[in-house]
Symmetry: C2
Subunit: 114 residues, 2 copies
DNA sequence: AGAAAACGCAACCTTTGGTTGCGCGACAGT
DNA sequence: ACTGTCGCGCAACCAAAGGTTGCGTTTTCT
């Protein structure tokens, strides 16, 4: 296990499609157990448990024991950090793309008006 | 709605940290070859080539042969789609989180006014 | 013509997402 | 109190993906 920075661990956590779906379900349905979550997902309880472990290590989710079951809930502050990170990348790309677009337009104008 | 497999291929492409870095470099430095890109990245030319292949299959990047070298460039329209997808997920999470926050506040108010 | 640069292909290793199988603690019914 | 069941955790195993090294091929340059 290479020790990653906090940021990279967050990204690694949300990069996985399955984990994003998991987070979606937790967000819309509220806290749930691994078995309950697995019922709404195309993989087994164990796979879900592994994903939950990853998410918990990244701090995105928190599990508490209630008798024989462990209920997992999202940690809003942390997920907010993750959401902002994603939005930031999207924004960076967008600004770069607009710069490219402007450049292309200016070249086009220059070519048409010598 | 948009083609689902297409969407998932896009996500798979941008989910990888290395590929995001690759796109960043291409965006800021303009078109480049696999060897040139590898110089700015912590892995080998072959690894970069594989990533470029994935990105090209996802339509995010386009490679053209110029003599003995292949120069890769970002396809702005496609990357824009990807950026919007990321922003959309971030926004969805954000709205869910705000709903949770509002709910918590209303409970808090109810508890303080019996 | 011959050396060097850039690429493609193939074999291989490691990590990771996913599965099956099993054993153990917690609950519920009788 | 006993027995069956439910939910979990652990371990072995499998397949795909990221990454590396090694080698052969094509293009360029002198």
């Amino acid at each position: 296990m290479t020790d990653r920075s906090d940021d990279e661990e967050l990204w690694a956590a949300i990069a996985e499609p399955g984990r994003r779906r998991l987070l979606d379900i937790l967000l819309s349905g509220g806290p749930a157990t691994a078995t309950a979550l697995a019922a709404d997902l195309p993989f087994t309880r164990q796979a879900v448990a592994k994903h939950l472990a990853v998410l918990e290590r990244a701090g995105l989710v928190e599990g508490h024991r209630h008798g024989r079951e462990v209920r997992y809930a999202v940690r809003p502050e942390r997920l907010d950090v993750a959401a902002r990170a994603m939005a930031a990348v999207a924004a960076r790309w967008d600004s770069r793309l607009q710069a490219i677009k402007r450049l292309a337009e200016s070249i086009h104008r220059a070519a048409n008006q010598p």
